[in-house]
Amino acid sequence: MTGSNITDTDRKSDSPEPFASRVVKSRHTKRVDFIIACVCLLLIIVCLTPMLNIFARSLSSSQALINRRVFLWPVDFTWESYQFVFKDASFSRSMIWTAFLTVVCTIVSMIMTVLCAYPLTYGNLKGRQVINTAIILTMYFSAGTIPNYILMRDLKLLNNPLVLILPGCLSVFNMIVLRSFFYSIPESLRESAELDGANPLVILVRIFLPLSTSVLATLALFYAVGRWNGFSDALLYMTTPKYAPIQLKLYQIINNLSAIETAQNEGIAAAPMASEGLKAASVMFATLPILLVYPWLQKYFIAGVTIGAVKG
């Protein structure tokens, strides 16, 4: 505690050591600091090992894998597995389709989220309380798998690509995050724009959106990651292999299932086994986009989560 608190207040001073403090630390305190750092290092290792392992396996020859020689570094380095994945036209098509889907979903979701959050920040809007409650309630009560499935069937959305876009296009949690941010924009800005004769849409586009770019970026990334990682909606509603998103495809590959088998039953069938290296490469492909956006993601998400937690 001592260390971190004092460094926090001293952040601006140009001390050579980031943790230098006015209080001279006892040897005991230093030892405890060291132990804590070791525990954290261990955590980092535990977090990264599975990913390093799969990376190594995806770049090793199948012989090395079978001979149990691959630990955390590629053995008999080869691009073989990646070439196999590329050769599987259905996999690369699924990657492209999911990327497209992710972009469309993110755009639709952002529009919906803004359209929902913004009007609800007007305190004098009649019916606001009722609408608010009705929206929050859906966080706690949902119809359930089967009633939703029947709805999709009745709406003729089964096996329709729209089913991967529409039912999840507005997250209440994200909407609350955005609304909380909108609340933090000074009321006086809106009032002076109103006096200048601006209508709500102009105020939204000219004032609110430009001021909340960081939150909008966070939410867009949340939606994008959510769509990229989405699995159960595809499993339930999408049996056309052509429109199978990447997670469904990956599920079939790692469990040695062909597309039809997933649709029909869930036992492990005797489909031709994908090699371990190919599975590793497929997992790498599906993970890569997440790793690519992660640096941006983690720049913003903490603020998003804490806002949502306070208001939700």
Binding site: M1, G3, S4, T7, P18, F19, V32, D33, I36, A37, C40, I44, V46, C47, P50, N53, I54, I66, R68, M112, L115, Y118, P119, I131, A134, T138, S142, A143, G144, T145, I146, Y149, I150, L151, L155, L170, L195, G197, N199, P200, V225, W228, N229, F231, S232, Q247, L250, I254, N255, E266, I268, S282, A286, T287, I290, Y294, Q298, I302, T306, A309
Partner: protein, 309 residues
């Protein structure tokens, strides 16, 4: 700009002129909530009806509690119920205290750069889908060629069947859950710790409090409201079940421990077309969840905490 209308009285006409646009904006989101969230709720009635593919929800005849008693009469349902409760309780026992401890640990970490790095790394698994995680796990824990069993073999231990035996599956499931969520769940506690007044720590320091005492008497009490709120929400979910996680990690060798209510509903409802039976089970689950949430909340409020409503 010319001020066209400096003071607007809230008369009816001007109210509509001012706000029609807002209602227009809300139209799409509201349509979304009605169509995709509220209308399906009406389909819940099939839990009390003899519904099949050839009937509509409304034309199907009422059968009362038939499906509930049918579900209660099958071993499969009880297996799923038992597994759901067991896995959730284990998740709670392991996964609830862990982020609190990790948050305190991170807060005690003296090296700022290293703290940032640790946070960056431990948050990452939260963004991986359960399909990806199960892919990682299948490779990592493979009985023959997996890293963990190869390491065990190096130290002369017999391979452990982490994912394809019932005994190994449960701890692996819980462990992977922890791996995925522990870092992410510290965020909220770390935010709460930042909110604790530094004066309290300084006062404790003056009184000669040790590090451990400061954690016990300042940090933990400061975290209490957050802990209680999150505990209520976890207790409310004790019968809830995720779908992706058990579904991605299960296989035919471990259905006795891995089949939870959500996967049971999927199997019975979508795969075997017993829509009414599966809806009844789903409804049972939702009702129990709400019940637990209300109970947990009222206990919290009675013991002087804030509760979640």
């Amino acid at each position: 700009m010319v001020r066209t209308n400096p003071i607007r009285r809230r008369s009816g006409v001007s109210y509509i002129r001012k706000t029609w646009m807002l209602y227009a904006m809300l139209a799409l989101p509201l349509a979304f909530f009605v169509i995709f969230r509220y209308i399906p709720m009406t389909n819940i009635v099939i839990a009390f009806k003899e519904y099949n593919m050839f009937r509509t929800v409304w034309s199907a005849p009422w059968v009362g509690w038939k499906w509930f008693s049918k579900a209660l009469g099958t071993a499969d349902f009880f297996n799923a119920l038992r597994n759901t409760v067991t896995l959730n309780l284990l998740d709670l026992a392991v996964g609830f205290p862990a982020p609190i401890m990790l948050a305190i640990l991170l807060n005690e970490l003296a090296y700022r750069r290293f703290k940032k790095l640790t946070q960056t790394v431990v948050y990452l698994p939260h963004f991986l889908s359960w399909i990806i995680i199960s892919g990682l796990a299948l490779q990592l824990f493979a009985p023959n060629t997996g890293l963990v069993n190869m390491a065990l073999a190096k130290i002369g231990r017999a391979p452990i069947h982490f994912l394809d035996s019932s005994r190994g599956w449960v701890p692996t499931y819980i462990g992977l859950g922890l791996w995925q969520s522990v870092g992410w769940n510290t965020i909220i506690y770390l935010a709460a710790i930042t909110g604790i007044s530094t004066e309290l720590y300084e006062a404790a320091e003056v009184d000669g409090a040790s590090r451990l005492r400061k954690i016990w008497h300042v940090t933990l009490p400061g975290l209490r409201p957050t802990i209680v709120t999150l505990l209520i929400m976890s207790l409310g979910r004790i019968l809830g079940s995720e779908f992706d996680r058990p579904y991605a990690m299960r296989n035919s060798l471990v259905t006795d421990v891995a089949d939870v209510i959500s996967t049971y509903v999927y199997r019975v409802g979508i795969r075997s077309n017993q829509f009414s039976l599966a809806s009844a089970v789903g409804l049972f689950q939702s009702v129990v969840c709400v019940f637990f949430l209300v109970i947990a909340n009222s206990i919290a409020r009675r013991s002087g905490e804030r509760g979640i409503w």
